[in-house]
C-alpha cells in the first residue's frame, strides 16, 4: 500500500544565503526525526533566509508543528528571515487554529 516513503525532506538552496526545506508526505510523530535533522542542518548553515515549502504535506501533527516552530525560533535567534513559501489549504487552516498564521510570513494564495 505504501509505495512512496511517508515523508520526503529535501534541502535546497534556491539562491545564495537562502536555505529551503521542501517537505512532502506526512510530517508526524513517526517521521519527524528526519525533518528535525534537516532543520538542524539548515540552522547550522546560518542562512540569511530560511524557507519552508509545505505544498506537498498531506498531514501534520503536533510533533510536526514543533519542527516548524523550532525552525522559526532558531531563525529568530539568529536574526534570519523565516517564511513559508507554499502550503495547502489544510495547513493554512491548521496554522489559523493555532494562531500562527499572523506570526509566520505566509504566501497569499494556498497552492492546494
Amino acid at each position: 500500500m505504501q509505495d512512496t516513503p511517508p515523508l520526503l525532506v529535501e534541502y535546497v538552496t534556491p539562491e545564495p544565503g537562502t536555505a529551503r526545506l521542501v517537505l512532502t508526505g506526512e510530517l508526524d510523530y513517526t517521521t519527524v526525526d528526519e525533518a528535525a535533522e534537516e532543520a538542524d542542518k539548515v540552522l547550522a548553515d546560518n542562512p540569511r533566509v530560511i524557507e519552508l515549502d509545505l505544498a506537498g504535506l498531506r498531514f501534520v501533527d503536533s510533533s510536526g508543528i514543533a519542527v516548524v516552530m523550532n525552525l522559526y525560533r532558531g531563525a529568530e535567534e539568529r536574526g534570519a528571515a523565516f517564511r513559508i513559501v507554499a502550503l495547502t489549504t489544510y495547513l493554512r487552516h491548521l496554522l489559523q487554529v493555532i494562531s500562527l498564521d499572523d506570526v509566520f510570513d505566509l504566501p497569499e494564495q494556498a497552492s492546494g
Binding site: D61, S63, A66, N70, V97
Partner: protein, 548 residues
Amino acid sequence: MRGATGSANAGAARATPGDVAALLDGSDEGIVLCDAGGVVLLANAAAVRMAPEIVPGGPVPSELCPAGSDTVTYGGRVIRVRTEAVGDHRALYLSEVPSLPRRTEFLLEAARRLFASLHPRRCARAAVDLGAEFLCDVAVVVLPPATNRRVEWVRAAAGRPAPEEGVLPLATALQVPGLNDALAGLTHGSGGRQDAGAVPDWLLPDGFGPAGDLLVFPLPGNSVPAGAMALVRRADRPPFDEEALAMARDLASRAGAALSAAMLFREQSAINTILIDGLLPPDLPEVEGMRLGGRLRSSQQAGAVGGDFYDVYLPETGAGHGIESGIVERPPLIILGDVCGKGARAAVLAGQVRQSLRALLLLESRPVRLLQLLNRSLLASPAPNSYVTLILAALREAPGEHVLVDLAVAGHPAPLVLRGDGTVEEVPARGSLLGALKKTVLRPVTVDLAPGEVCLLYSDGITEAFGGPTGREMFGEERLKDALATCRGMPVDALVERLEQISSEWLAGGQQDDRALLAVRAGGQEPATGTTTGATTGATMVWAETTG
C-alpha cells in the same frame, strides 16, 4: 566377506535371494544398485526410507547421483552419497547426516521457549521446564531477592506436570550450597558443582529421595544477576557429564538473558505506567449547578501514548481565610490540552502543565493571564519541544441555572456549543500555542449556557481521525458539529460517549491518534435519557475581547 558367496565349497548351505534382501534391509545405510543407464535394479529399506521415490525399474533421482562421493540435500534430509562400481552396475551407499547435534537442538529449543514471554515468572518457568526435561530431575530458579529479604522460587521436576512456585525467607533459600554466591553472580565449586549431600529440604519436591548431584549457577543479567538456578540429579542417576555441564551453563546464560530482559521490561512498564498515570484524566467531580463529562482515549501505538489531557480544578477549600492566605477566590476551572509529541516525554510535559497550573491558580484566576504565565514558564523550560495547545475554561454559576464559561484558547481547536434548539456554534475564541512565542495573542470569549446547553472541548485527534468510506478522509469539524447537533437533550456522559463512538466508527479500525473530549452542561439536573430540553432559552454569546 567371502562367506556370503563362498560357502559353495561346503555345498550344504547357500544364501537365498530372500536372505540377501533381509540382510540389505537390516542395514542402516541406504543401498541402491542401478545399471549404467541409472535405472534402479534394487533398493534396500533404508534407501526407500530416505528417498521414497526410489523404486526398482525407475530412475535414480538425479540429486542422488553426484559425480563421485558427496553430501547432498534431498527431500529436506542431508544425505552423504558414496558411489562404487559393482561389475557393470553402480552401487550408491546413502547415509543420513543427523540434522543437528543434541546441544544445538537444545539451545534452539531453549531460546524459543525462554524468549516466548516478557514476563519474569513465565521465563523462570520455561527455564526450569527446560532443565527438568533435558538435563536433570529437578530444576529450580531463584529470582533476585526483593527488598523485604524474601525470594521467589520456581521449580520443575521431571515427570511432574507443571512447575511449582513459592516464596521463602532469603536466609532459608541460602541453605542451598553456593546459592549466595550464585545470586551475587559468582560460580563456585568445580564449574558450578556443589555438595549434593547439603541440599536443604525445600529445594526438592516431596518424595524425591536423596540428591546425587547438584549444580548451582548464577543467571547472568545485564548488569546485575537475574537470579540463580539449581539443577539436581537423583542419587540413582549418573552425575552430570561434560556435555550436560556445558548444556547447563548454556541454559543458565540464556535464561539469565531472557529473565533480565523480562525484568527490565517489567520495570519500564511500571515506569511507563507511572508516567502515563500523569496523563490519565481525573475522575470528574460533582460541580454545583452543572454537569461534567469526559473521555480520553490514548493512541493504540505501543509505547507512544500521546499528549492529550484534561483536568478539573475545584476552588481551594482553604480560600477566603483572610488576606494572609493570599489565595484567590475563583470558580471551578477545566482545561483540555495537547502537548507536543508522544510517550514519556509528552507525559512529563503534560504533568508539568497540569502542576504548573495548579500552583498558578493559587495566585491568579483570570484565564488569559493564566495562559500568559504558563507560556512564560514553558518558554523558560530547557526541555526541547515544550509546545502545548490548551483550552482553559472558568465555570461561573449564574442565576436561573445558567453557567458562564470564560474561555481562553491557545493554539487549540475552538470549543463548540450545543444550544437548546439543537444548533451548534463554534466559539470564536483564539490564541497562539503556548511555549512558542514570547508575546501571545489571546482572544478570550465568555459563553452563556442556559440550562441543558453544552460547551464541548475536544482535541484534534477527533477531527483529524482518518477513516470514512475511503479510509483516507478526515472526520473534520463539520462532521463533529453535525454529530453534536444530534446530542440535544442527552445527559453529558452519554453525549461524550456518543461522540467518541461516532469518531471511532469513522476510524473503523484505522490507526487512531489520541482523542479527548470534555463537556460541561449547564444545570444541576441531568435530563432523563431520550427527552429534550426546552427549545427556547434565549441564550446569547457574550463577547469579552481582551488582548494579552
